[in-house]
């Protein structure tokens, strides 16, 4: 059923009984043209664009748990296009353009809310760095405004401007950034892909690969073997494990990132704010809770939970920025496992094994990438060549030296 004013009305007068399931709970067929492993936002978007843009409709998405149970349902929902390097800017801007039309495209309310993201600066060098980044963005047609202290004070009077160590001097404002409802994105892509014939197979874990000589010809799963002309991996924090089953080593470490939600309060924070002197970012959900996070825990982890030092560190960052949250109670905290790549940037490419394709290395920032990642990965799978917007995200860049290191910290995943 398409959602419309009429469908709402019809359900309103019939006690909400006419709704049908948003997608079929499919059982796997013995073979597909393409199998996408991982039912997060990236996997589902890939399947959707494969069907929609490339006419490849005999597709399955296999997910070991339920769709959205990974990082797609664990992130702090920030979407933005304020990157600074040439390989990144066109890709993230393409993603932002897709976000801007996503709800109409999917006929689904993903609660995309472009209420702005403000990166605060606290020193002259940091202002210069943000001015440079803002200029790079504007040269690529992305919006960016450098605000001074008084302009920030007008927007967010409750911040601690006179913090003794890190006084706020201004901020880089990216008005088109904001948040989207992460589950809504997953469900929207799942429903739209399902309508194009994609099978979404939940509770189906990939445990190995089927090979025809050198070629990857399908996957072994807990629901039996599934043959496939092409296999795409979009398994976020588990990429190394899946790659190891195929005999590949990746430039990836798995790290945990935590996120937190406070009790609900009245509207306080209009957009997304990031603290430039430490690592802290915060927005307010539509239910009123403050949603925030900071650094990763910093060591390899596959446990979807974090440790206390980072909880303390994140809360200190929050307190330094806005002391008024000091008496708020923390309702929940959780962790997600991300692929931290060796240069902090993603990989969307063919693998060295024919038939196997990689979508990995999203580090902190993969949620905002969801639409463009699906778009470009579908292109790579269907056409066997990189999409122009993702041409920099090649796997061999680590060997050739064409790294995309936004933070310039070297091959240290825990510093990205």
């Amino acid at each position: 059923m398409r959602y419309s004013f009429l469908s709402l009305l019809a359900n309103a007068v019939t006690g909400q009984k006419l709704w049908s399931a948003a997608w079929r709970d499919a059982k796997p067929k013995p073979a597909y043209d393409a199998v996408i492993v991982g039912g997060g936002g990236h996997g589902l978007a890939t399947a959707y664009y494969l069907a929609k843009k490339h006419g490849v409709r005999n597709v399955a998405v296999v997910e070991k748990g339920w769709i959205g149970s990974g990082n797609a349902g664990r992130n702090t929902t920030i979407i933005r296009s304020n990157y600074g390097l040439p390989g990144n800017i066109p890709f993230y801007e393409w993603s932002m353009k897709l976000w801007e039309g996503l709800e109409r495209e999917l006929n689904y309310n993903a609660m995309v809310s472009q209420r702005g993201i403000l990166n605060l600066y606290h020193s002259d060098p940091q202002r210069d760095a943000y001015a440079r980044r803002g200029n790079a963005m504007r040269l690529h047609g992305v919006d960016a405004e450098l605000l001074d202290r008084e302009q920030v004070r007008e927007m967010l009077p409750f911040l601690d401007f006179d913090n003794a160590r890190f006084p706020i001097q201004g901020g880089l404002l990216h008005r088109r950034g904001g948040t989207a409802r992460h589950d809504g994105v997953v469900w929207g892509y799942a429903r739209a892909a399902d309508r194009l014939g994609v099978d979404i197979v939940q509770n189906c874990e990939v445990t190995g690969f089927i090979r025809d000589g050198d070629r990857i010809a399908g996957v072994e799963t807990t629901l039996g073997p599934i043959r496939a002309g092409k296999v795409g991996l979009a398994v976020a924090g588990n990429s190394s494990r899946l790659a190891a089953m195929a005999g590949l080593r990746l430039p990836i470490e798995s790290h945990v990132l935590q996120a937190f939600v406070s009790e609900g309060i009245k509207p306080l924070i209009p957009g997304v704010i990031t603290f430039g002197a430490g690592h802290f970012y915060v927005s307010q959900s539509d239910k009123g809770g403050l949603v925030f996070g900071g650094d990763i825990d910093g060591y390899n982890s596959y446990a979807q939970r974090g440790n206390l030092p980072v909880v303390e560190d994140v809360c200190e960052g929050g307190m330094a920025l806005m002391p008024l949250i000091g008496r708020l109670r923390l309702l929940r905290g959780w962790g997600g496992i991300m692929d931290m790549s060796m240069d902090g940037s993603p990989i969307i490419d063919r693998s060295p094994l024919p038939g196997l394709y990689l979508n990995t290395g999203w580090c902190y920032g993969g949620f905002k990438a969801t639409p463009a990642s699906g778009w470009c990965f579908a292109h790579a799978i269907a056409k066997d060549e990189p999409h122009p917007a993702a041409a920099a995200y090649r796997l061999d860049r680590f060997a050739t030296g064409h790294l995309i290191n936004e933070k310039g910290v070297g091959a240290q995943p825990n510093l990205h």
Partner: protein
């Protein structure tokens, strides 16, 4: 998470800095396959889900480098010793001839 430093005793992970996988060893720059070997050394990782050998620096304590065995699924630590005592080959130091 507490790391049992062989010199200082069990200390909060806060006191340590993480370097990463302790099993990668710096290749010989004079070897014919040095470019490929350095790429693997700098970038490629096993990244196992389970026991992991890793290097931690005890900057908030004895300032020693430790080789720690930690389970990446549970965060449980089953061993910690000084990296210099480990089987990882340390760069050899030329002896003073005198």
């Amino acid at each position: 998470m507490r790391i049992p430093c062989p010199y200082c005793g069990p200390r909060d992970a806060h006191e340590f800095t993480y370097l990463g996988d302790a099993t990668v060893t710096r290749p010989d720059p004079a070897a014919p396959d040095a470019a490929a070997a350095f790429h693997a050394y700098a970038h490629l990782r096993d990244n196992p889900a389970g026991p992991h050998e890793e290097l931690w620096y005890h900057g908030g304590g004895c300032r020693g480098w430790l080789r720690v065995t930690r389970d990446t699924l549970t965060h449980a630590i089953t061993g910690a010793r000084f990296a210099a005592d480990s089987s990882v080959s340390a760069p050899s130091v030329a002896k003073d001839p005198s």
